[in-house]
Symmetry: C2
Subunit: 317 residues, 2 copies
Amino acid sequence: MLLQEIPKKDDILSAEKRIHNYVHRTPVFTSNQLNEILGVHVYFKCENLQKVGAFKMRGASNAILSLTKAQLKKGVATHSSGNHAQAVALTAKLAKIPAYIVMPHNAPEVKVEAVRRYGAEVIYCESNLNAREEMLNEVVEKTGASFIHPYDNYDVIAGQATCAKEMLEDTDHLKALFAPIGGGGLMAGTLLSSQYFGNKTPVIGAEPAGADDAYRSWKAGKIIPMEHPDTIADGLRTSVGERNFPIIQQYVKDIITVSDEEIIEAMRLIFNYLKLVVEPSGAVPFASMIKIKDQFKGKKVGVILCGGNIDLKKLPF
Amino acid sequence: MLLQEIPKKDDILSAEKRIHNYVHRTPVFTSNQLNEILGVHVYFKCENLQKVGAFKMRGASNAILSLTKAQLKKGVATHSSGNHAQAVALTAKLAKIPAYIVMPHNAPEVKVEAVRRYGAEVIYCESNLNAREEMLNEVVEKTGASFIHPYDNYDVIAGQATCAKEMLEDTDHLKALFAPIGGGGLMAGTLLSSQYFGNKTPVIGAEPAGADDAYRSWKAGKIIPMEHPDTIADGLRTSVGERNFPIIQQYVKDIITVSDEEIIEAMRLIFNYLKLVVEPSGAVPFASMIKIKDQFKGKKVGVILCGGNIDLKKLPF
């Protein structure tokens, strides 16, 4: 039964059970050296080590496994520039159902390859939202597949919420939790888990300055879509979704925007001190934390490293 | 009391207790995608996630903590191009004793910085073994510090042995264990742990073709030093040590050499599928495994990712 309203505590607990065999409980890492340099104790939730290399596996698997048997039989479809596509493809492979993925022709090579390796059918389209949606509608009409939206979907939000739930269980006394805002799936889930399972730990949104629609929407009190996003953080170029925005509006403590230079510097620190590969989007929450680190001197904070799928030819250093 | 002969089972158990608070028990990771591509179940012991980013912390801390109080007071000294230097420096910092590190002037920037950050004194020298040894002797004479050899030292070997011990405890039914050979500290320790704690699991040595002295020495039955090493794997340019070679000769199953291209391809796979940063030397055992993977079709093998300290400016992709 698909969720029709904002996930409740029980919906997230159900999601956690539902996806148990489809996701890893990812580790939380810290680096003494990095903590000394920053003057803050930073705990990193390593969703770059998640299946498909990103948190997206949580939401996609929860949404797909919530479908009826009849729906599952006809398969699933989505449009995505990357990690959500891989997550839908892998879930479909594990659940033994067909998957149809509409991808822009300029999607990173490593992401297209991964989707194909999971056995999904890739359908290319132009790199704009209209083209994607038209192609997706065609596919859904032809196959009867269920559309799994990357973020504007309550079941996806409930799945993404399991990430912060685990992190809050595996840490103590966090003064804040930093998560990225693209479409707002992970952010909405993080906010709900902080309310339900984390003693309302303050959650801070992180956005690239070149795709700061959530920040501007939050300030304006209504959704202002991003028309021409321009940032290295390709996973966060999307505008915030209709189901996601009200949750963000209600619970987010602050939204911090960062430049591409700040994102690259955060990536560099993560590579050098944690020895972890993160994609630019995956480093945005840490970049935001660094920007306001004086607020957390000597304290503990949580940072979600949301993904690690980067084309090595495009490393910024 | 310093070890005067090949470490026994009890010496490795003592080392494990001695260094318990100085090292991490590093995780063992595997990647389903990578296993499917290779047709082998590969378990990676992540020593790139060890303190100082390399297994060297195990041997250095064991050797230092085996010194007498009087010796500790005068401090420790070593010559090293990198990871061993950091390990000596960090152990000295934690044990609150002085450390003097002789380093070649062309050592990677990231490694020199790290040693300084641990509070050790860096003394530069020319980039050849004679120059290093001369400078080291000067330092030892002047300060009374104890020289901690990077590999040709039984206490170092006993410390490095704890790595394979942990790996053998955390895995089952490995058909082989791949470890690198530079000076032979990790390799000798791995061979001993396989004998004492791992049902004599076959251990395979991995060497860059451009620094294949251990391979040639093993074939010849006597040490043949490397005169002009030429490989991207800077941590493995050293020639095998006198205390290390007899252990290798007695127990190693095979030694596989790999080209720089094969090392870089192994690094690429580790970055892409494990989302882990490894230095070239750290990828050599995996490159060797790939070279003979047909021997292990459908089986489990262990691979030590021995270090992750790479200058991001020098990434080979």
